[in-house]
Symmetry: C2
Subunit: 222 residues, 2 copies
DNA sequence: CGCAAACAAACCAACGGTCTGTTTGTATCC
DNA sequence: GGATACAAACAGACCGTTGGTTTGTTTGCG
């Protein structure tokens, strides 16, 4: 079936399949052959639309970033909320986005998903902070709901902690650990005027992750 | 030259070479052939001492962990310092360790070193926090120099921020950005009784990284 | 002397990636 | 509006390299 009339459909199929496989098995353990088998496409098809396996991975990440970015942009540009209120909303929102993306069962633990972690860190520095978080913090400074002389740095600390620590994707944790993390997280930012960054409702939602079934064992025991 | 009398020398050579190559080029871009060429050994030799390429990587990481662990253990067990004083000393120490390991020029940016980042995160949760940081925080609580109900969580937040944020390895930054990060970092932990976690001297040392030459371009532009 | 540790090196399947070839939608010309 | 041209959209054979295995050889040492 050459010369498809709707090539963007093919691209979508490739990205959908690749995203699922990368999330399920990790980048390294997903071979091009796996993607070929599951899409029913040929190598020619894939290399017509993408330059390399890594290119597919980056495109997958970019698409996830765009999905999340749309929701974050709406929040950022909402002019009925103060900066502080937006920060609180983000805690709620990012949990929701994570659920959608199903990245929360991304692992057999961290080691098999090094590439995703690295990309997340990159996008935090290059995208999430400068495009969404810093502007929101600056708004908070302007409207008096946040106090700091270093909006960028404060935004970085908040996003990093929430995305690679609070967020239980990265490391499984018990209910008590999750609750303790949230308590510390809230206390950390109190002196910047940011009270109750994570409210009880979100804490409960986070706690639910503690019971999530995890893949039995990391494949590469050290 | 078969049947070497000092096989541990061979192991050391393999680990030394692999560590250097992994740091210079990243795990993915270092092939076994590279290690063979630079050590002058054969595949048989390497697979006699190691189970796989990943096994070499884990051994490299383990060795780095042991090197750092020795220094951290000495600090932890020093009974002339309060918990708080030990935390301050760690800021200084980890900078020093990083310099030794030369991991600070680990990159062509983050994307080429996903595996190291993931291992660092793992070792933070599995090793650094429970073995070193949490005991120190607990000591600080006992001797009154630190105030928190959640020593583990506080330790996690401190290590994460210092290792993947303050530490300029992960993302290059200007002098002003580094200084701003340190200021925010110090303010974050003030309410736990932890004053001046990073002092001016360390800030200056960190600033010096801003001028470090970085590899020109990431190899995989998105 | 014998045996296993410590290698050397040929060998292998699978991988990511390339190249050439084929089909086919569509713009263009008359 | 039908023939023609052309490139987009694939298919699939092919290639070098990779990580990993196997078999063979040397040699220190009990």
């Amino acid at each position: 079936m050459s010369r498809n009339k709707y090539p963007e459909e093919t691209v979508r199929r490739i990205l959908d399949t690749a995203e699922r496989l990368f999330v399920e098995k990790g980048y390294d353990r997903t071979s091009l052959q796996d993607i070929l088998d599951e899409t029913g496409l040929s190598k020619g098809a894939i290399y017509h639309h993408f330059a390399s396996k890594e290119d597919i991975f980056y495109s997958v990440c970019e698409r996830i970033g765009k999905r999340n970015g749309a929701a974050l942009a709406r929040l950022r540009d909402d002019d009925t909320l103060t900066g502080l209120e937006k920060l609180r909303a983000i805690s709620r929102l990012s949990l929701q986005l994570e659920r959608q993306a199903k990245t929360f069962n991304m692992m057999p633990y961290l080691k098999d998903n090094a590439k995703f972690l690295a990309m997340e860190m990159c996008s935090i520095y290059e995208d999430v902070v400068p495009v969404f978080m810093e502007p929101i913090v600056r708004q908070g400074i302007a409207d008096g709901s946040i106090r700091t002389a270093h909006p960028r740095a404060l935004a970085e600390a908040m996003v990093l902690l929430s995305d690679v620590w609070i967020n239980p994707i990265v490391q499984p944790a018990t209910r008590e650990e999750i609750r303790a993390r949230c308590a510390v997280y809230n206390q950390l930012f109190r002196s910047f005027g940011i009270e109750e960054l994570i409210d009880e409702e979100v804490v409960c939602a986070l706690e639910a992750y503690a019971d999530m079934p995890r893949p039995s064992q990391p494949l590469n025991a050290v």
